[in-house]
């Protein structure tokens, strides 16, 4: 469970929660419904291109903006198990763990990973291997209780 392998989609800095899931879809609240519109205002085709197991890589301040838990729910609903970024906005960071979406802070990995690369992520150790280039990176490891949250699928499922 703690090792994940997937294809990468890259995004820039300040990916806000409106980009992750636009407010016009917030009259819905299941991961399946929300996943159909994930990242839509950044890339209208994204929901149809993303496959379960794919990994998102962003730059600074990923998830800034609103407190909508629908954002990590939409990403999880699309089958994205982990987001890697240089930094995360505070509320998104809490919400991700609470909903069971793993997130890793790894600035060097972000600089070394390109869209379409295959990468392998070990959540326990924070090791990230770029299988396309062979490069290896170290993320800040997840604290034990946060790994438990992710493994359980969220806070209210422990």
């Amino acid at each position: 469970m703690s090792t994940l392998k997937g294809r990468v989609w890259t995004f820039g800095r300040d990916v806000d929660t409106d980009l992750i899931i636009a407010a016009r879809y917030l009259n819905m609240k299941t991961p399946e419904e929300l996943a159909a519109h994930v990242m839509e205002d950044a890339d209208p085709e994204f929901a149809s291109k993303v496959r379960p197991g794919d990994i998102l890589v962003g730059k600074e301040n990923f998830g800034c903006g609103s407190s909508r838990e629908h954002a990590p729910m939409a990403l999880k609903g699309a089958g994205i198990p982990v987001v890697i970024a240089k930094s995360f906005a505070r509320i998104f960071y809490r919400n991700a763990f609470n909903t069971g979406l793993a997130i890793l802070v790894a600035p060097e990995a972000v600089d070394g990973i390109r869209e379409g690369d295959q990468i392998e992520v070990d959540l326990a150790s924070g090791q990230i291997r770029n299988l396309t280039t062979g490069a290896e990176y170290q993320a800040e490891p997840l604290p034990e209780f946060m790994r438990a949250l992710v493994a359980a699928g969220g806070c209210c499922r422990i």
Binding site: D16, A23, R24, N27, P44, S66, C156
Partner: protein, 425 residues
Amino acid sequence: MAMTITEKLLARAAGREAVSPGELIMARVDFCLGNDITAPVAIDEFEKAGFERVFAPDRIALIPDHFTPSKDIKTAGLVKQMREFSRKHGLTHYYDVGRVGVEHALLPELGLVGPGDVVVGADSHTCTYGALGAFATGVGSTDLAGAMATGEVWFRVPESLKFEFTGKPGPYVTGKDLILYTIGQIGVDGALYQAMEFTGPAIEGLSMDSRFSICNMAIEAGGKNGIIAADATTRAYVEGRFRREPFYAYSDREAQYAAHYRWRAEDIPLMVAKPHLPSNTQAAAELCGVRIDQVVIGSCTNGRLEDLRMAAEILRGHKVHKDVRLIVIPATQAVWQKAMEEGLFSVFLDAEAVVSAPTCGPCLGGHMGILAEGERALSTTNRNFVGRMGHPGSEVYLAGPYVAAASAVAGHIATPEQIGARRAA
């Protein structure tokens, strides 16, 4: 040990003598809230986790304000879920259409939050209440579910940043301009995970409404909370309104700050944030000529009585430009009534603006003024992300109520002076 106001309030809520930045604490929550987007998810989580009771039925507010009066069938279902949960658990503070207002205007107005409180809300602009000398921060729905059940939430104690504004703001410069300037200086993650403490003579001279505007947008710099220590203005606002005993805390002189910014208020012009980030700021006067299709005056940032008075001051005797739609949204029923009694609506109607029922509505592209592809709005709200008010190919500029009203008249971004208004500082 010297502490900031934020550290003192968190220490008190954790039952500790002192706390330091970086520490993880479990804190007692004085009040918590959710809206029609976040509360339904929190209710789902609350029930999934098997909680049977809320920690205190009078310390939870469920506020359906974002899509209400309900804009579609799905939204009506979300509000129904909130209504039924509130009845089942005997919640004191559920407010439906006719009583509801924009949450961060409504709660202070009703005296539900006040000085010294620790407040968590499943809405990022919960930081607004920091203007009362409270610690208030946004969380997600799951955190709200936990808070509703246990009355507690965990925090990492934030470092504090001090923003000191000296002197006196120039003519027409409001709290909104000071906070847009701040975000422009430090960036949208310039205060990530940190407390933003606003202080100095220029802040002391501001009304409560202007202070709410400032703390409201702390999140737009990534801040965990915005806070302004209580003074005579705060005490006058709270007196006869706040329903619990206020606790007044002040930062110690030797308290530690991660950074100290000091700006002269008179150097700060009327500000506008251009698409697509609140940090993308420029002086309003330099943007004169940028044509607009719609102006929105309202929201938890600028939908209070002072904001409507400012807009009316500029609009009086003018018509909204023929190519512009001006939507005015008083934030609460009480603001609505006072604005009506003061004759502000006559000014808006004479100017050919529309006045809406209280709602967050267009701020988040919910309803009541959605933008088409290629349209441009100037708004007194707090976010101008891609697609924020409608089509991803639309644009939002952010400003305070004076610039919004002047721009509605001009048909392009304009300051009050640029449409002929004159006033001494």
